[in-house]
C-alpha cells in the first residue's frame, strides 16, 4: 500500500479545491470582492454597535447618533463592581465551560478511539445513540432536566456541577463524531509499526494516534468550550444570582425596571470577544463535526 497521508475528514473551506474554471477578469473580481466586503460588514456591524453602546456616556445613551461625542471608557472599568455581579458570573462561566470541556475530552476520546478502531457488537447501536443526542437540544428537554435536578437535589447542591454535566452531555456527540473521523483517517499501520517497535497498544495510541489527531481534538475542545460558554436556557433554569454564568447575568439586566444598556453590553463584550477569537481558530473544521453524523 502506498504511503497515505491522513486525510482531513472534511475539506476545509480554506483549502479551496474548487478550481476556478478560468481566470476571472479583474473587474469581476473587484465587484465580487466589494459585495463580499459589504456582506462581511453587515455581519459585523451589530457587534460594533454592541461595543459602541458599551462605552456610551450615560447621558448620551439615547442620543440619536451612530457615535457619541466621546467615549466613556470608565463604563468598562466600573462594570466590574460587585453591584453588577459580572466578575462572579465570569468565574462561573469559566468554571462551566472548562469543566464541560474536560469532561467531554475524557469521555469522548476513548469512545471515539474505540469506535474508530474496532468493529464490535453494539457499535452501530452506540453510534445511533450518539446521533440521536446530537439531534436533541437542552431546550427540548429543559423541563425534564429541571425536574430531574429538582428530584436528585443537584439544584441545591451546586448548579455549576449540574451545568457541567448538561453541557458535557449535549456536546458529546459533536466531539465523538469529529474525533472518530480524524482517528479513522489515521492509518492503523502506524500504530502497528509502533507496537512492533515495542510500544504497548495504549502507548501507540498516546504517542502516534493522538498527536496526529490533534487538530480534531483541538476543534472538539474549542467547540465544546464555546457551546458551554454560550449556553443559555439550562443555565437560566438551573441557576440564579451569583451562581449564574454570564449569559444569565446579561439576561437579568433585561428584567430590571430600567435596562442598564451600557453595562449589559459591557458584559456582552466580555462574553463575546473571547469566543470570536477562539471560533476563528477552528472555523474551517466545525462543519465537518456538525454534519458528519447525518452524512454518513
Amino acid at each position: 500500500m502506498a504511503v497515505r497521508t491522513p486525510a482531513r475528514p472534511q475539506a476545509s473551506p480554506q483549502s479551496a479545491p474548487a478550481r476556478a474554471p478560468r481566470r476571472l477578469p479583474s473587474l469581476k473580481t473587484a465587484i465580487i470582492a466589494a459585495v463580499a466586503y459589504i456582506m462581511a460588514v453587515i455581519f459585523v456591524l451589530p457587534y460594533l454597535e454592541m461595543l459602541i453602546t458599551a462605552v456610551r456616556p450615560s447621558n448620551q445613551l439615547y442620543a440619536r447618533n451612530y457615535l457619541p461625542t466621546h467615549f466613556a471608557w470608565s463604563n468598562l472599568t466600573d462594570m466590574w463592581g460587585s453591584a453588577y455581579g459580572i466578575l462572579s458570573s465570569l468565574r462561573v462561566s469559566i468554571e462551566i465551560a472548562l469543566g464541560a470541556t474536560i469532561l467531554v475530552l475524557l469521555v469522548s476520546l476513548p469512545a471515539a478511539y474505540y469506535t474508530a478502531r474496532r468493529r464490535f457488537r453494539g457499535r452501530g447501536l452506540f453510534l445511533i445513540l450518539v446521533l440521536a443526542t446530537q439531534m436533541l437540544q437542552p431546550v427540548a428537554l429543559i423541563i425534564g432536566i429541571y425536574k430531574q435536578f429538582l428530584d436528585v437535589g443537584l439544584l441545591n447542591l451546586n448548579p455549576v456541577w449540574g451545568l457541567i454535566l448538561v453541557n458535557g452531555g449535549f456536546n458529546l456527540a459533536f466531539s465523538i463524531w469529529i474525533l472518530n473521523a480524524y482517528i479513522s483517517s489515521i492509518p492503523v499501520e502506524l500504530e502497528e509499526a509502533a507496537m512492533v517497535d515495542g510500544h504497548s497498544r495504549l502507548g501507540a495510541m498516546f504517542r502516534i494516534t493522538l498527536p496526529l489527531a490533534m487538530p480534531g481534538i483541538v476543534t472538539a475542545l474549542i467547540f465544546t468550550f464555546i457551546a458551554a460558554w454560550n449556553e443559555f436556557i439550562s443555565a437560566l433554569v438551573l441557576t440564579n444570582g451569583n451562581d449564574s454564568p454570564l449569559t444569565v447575568r446579561i439576561d437579568s439586566f433585561v428584567g430590571a425596571y430600567q435596562i442598564d444598556w451600557q453595562h449589559l453590553f459591557g458584559a456582552s463584550v466580555v462574553a463575546t470577544i473571547p469566543v470570536f477569537i477562539l471560533f476563528a481558530l477552528i472555523e474551517g473544521r466545525v462543519v465537518g463535526g456538525l454534519t458528519a453524523g447525518s452524512i454518513k
Partner: protein, 319 residues
C-alpha cells in the same frame, strides 16, 4: 492487562479455538467495549435519557405551583393544553416562524455560499467576519437587535430615516417590537441572521466537494453560467442543502433566546412560539409544561418528516 485482553480479542475473533481458556478470555473481551464506551453511555443516560423519562412522567402528573405532586393527572395536562384558547395562534405562529426563517436562511445562504466560493483578495478575513453571529451567543445577538430597535433612539430607525424609508424619527416613531406582526418579522430576521453563517459554511463545504472537471466539461459544451449553476451545481449541492435545512429546521423550532430577549413572548403569548410557550408554562404548571414539551417533540418530528417527504417528491418529479 487490558493489552493482553485486546490482543486476545483480536486473534480470537475470526479463527476457531486455539487455546483452552478462550471462552473466559472471550467473555472478558466482550466487556471491553463497555470500558471504552461506558463513560459516554453513562453521561448520555444521565443528561438525555433520564430527563426524557422524567419529562414523560411529569406530563402525566398533577403538580401544584409549589412543586408538590398531588397525584396522577391522567391525560388532563394534554387536554388542558389542547383546550387552551391561545394554542391555535401559537401553532400557526410556530409554523410561520419555522418555515419563513428556514426558507429565507436557505435561500440567502445559497447566494452567500456562491459568493464566498469565488476567489478574491481578503476572502479569509471576509469569511471570518461572517461567522460572528455563529460564534456569539444568540441571546447577546438578540439583545443587540432589541437595542438597535429601541423606540426613538435605535440605529436601525436612524438609518432607515436617513435613507428616507421612515419619515418620522422622534417620539412618535412606532415601536416595531411592540406590534406583534412587525415584531415577528423582526425576530424572524434575527433568526435568519444567526442561522446564515452555519448554513453558508455547510453549503460552501458542499460546493467544494463538487469536482472541478465537471465545470470544465460544461464550459467546453458552451453552457451558460446560470444554466451550469441550475443543472450541475444545484443538483450536486442537494445533500449538503438537505443536511443544512434539516439542522436549521430543528434549531429554529427550538430557538428560545431570540423571542425571549426581544419580546419575552408578548402579552398573552401573542409573540410566542411553542418553545417559548412551553418554557413559560413551567412557572405556572410544570405538568402542562412537560406535556407541551412532548407535543413539541412530536411537532419537530412531523415537520422534519414532511420536509424530507416533500423534497423526495420534488426530486422524483424533476427526473
Amino acid at each position: 492487562m487490558s493489552d493482553i485482553a485486546t490482543a486476545e480479542a483480536r486473534s480470537a475473533e475470526p479463527g476457531p479455538a486455539r487455546r483452552p481458556t478462550r471462552t473466559l478470555r472471550r467473555r472478558l473481551a466482550s466487556f471491553q467495549p463497555l470500558l471504552w464506551l461506558g463513560p459516554a453511555i453513562a453521561l448520555i443516560a444521565f443528561v438525555v435519557i433520564w430527563p426524557i423519562v422524567t419529562m414523560i412522567q411529569t406530563s402525566f402528573q398533577n403538580i401544584d405551583p409549589y412543586g408538590i405532586d398531588i397525584g396522577s393527572a391522567g391525560w388532563s395536562n394534554f387536554t388542558q393544553i389542547f383546550n387552551n384558547p391561545v394554542l391555535p395562534g401559537i401553532l400557526v405562529r410556530t409554523l410561520v416562524w419555522v418555515v419563513s426563517a428556514v426558507g429565507l436562511t436557505m435561500l440567502i445562504s445559497l447566494g452567500l455560499a456562491a459568493l464566498f466560493n469565488q476567489r478574491f483578495p481578503g476572502r479569509r478575513f471576509a469569511r471570518w467576519a461572517i461567522i460572528a453571529p455563529w460564534a456569539a451567543s444568540v441571546m447577546a445577538t438578540a439583545l443587540i437587535y432589541r437595542w438597535m430597535l429601541a423606540p426613538d433612539s435605535g440605529v436601525i430607525y436612524l438609518f432607515l430615516h436617513q435613507i428616507g424609508l421612515i419619515s418620522h424619527f422622534n417620539e412618535q416613531t412606532p415601536d416595531w417590537l411592540g406590534q406583534p406582526d412587525v415584531a415577528m418579522i423582526c425576530m424572524i430576521a434575527v433568526a435568519v441572521f444567526v442561522s446564515l453563517p452555519f448554513t453558508t459554511y455547510v453549503l460552501l463545504a458542499g460546493l467544494q466537494a463538487i469536482p472541478g472537471d465537471i465545470y470544465e466539461a460544461a464550459r467546453v459544451d458552451g453552457s451558460s453560467r446560470w444554466y451550469t449553476y441550475r443543472r450541475i451545481t444545484l443538483p450536486l449541492l442537494r445533500p449538503a442543502f438537505l443536511v443544512g435545512a434539516v439542522i436549521n429546521l430543528m434549531n429554529v423550532f427550538n430557538s428560545f433566546p431570540i423571542i425571549w430577549e426581544m419580546t419575552r413572548g408578548g402579552a398573552d403569548y401573542n409573540m410566542a412560539t411553542s418553545t417559548v410557550f412551553m418554557y413559560d408554562l413551567k412557572t405556572i404548571n410544570i405538568g402542562q409544561s412537560a406535556a407541551m414539551a412532548i407535543i413539541n417533540f412530536a411537532l419537530v418530528i412531523v415537520i422534519v418528516i414532511v420536509f424530507l417527504r416533500v423534497n423526495r417528491w420534488n426530486n422524483q418529479e424533476a427526473r
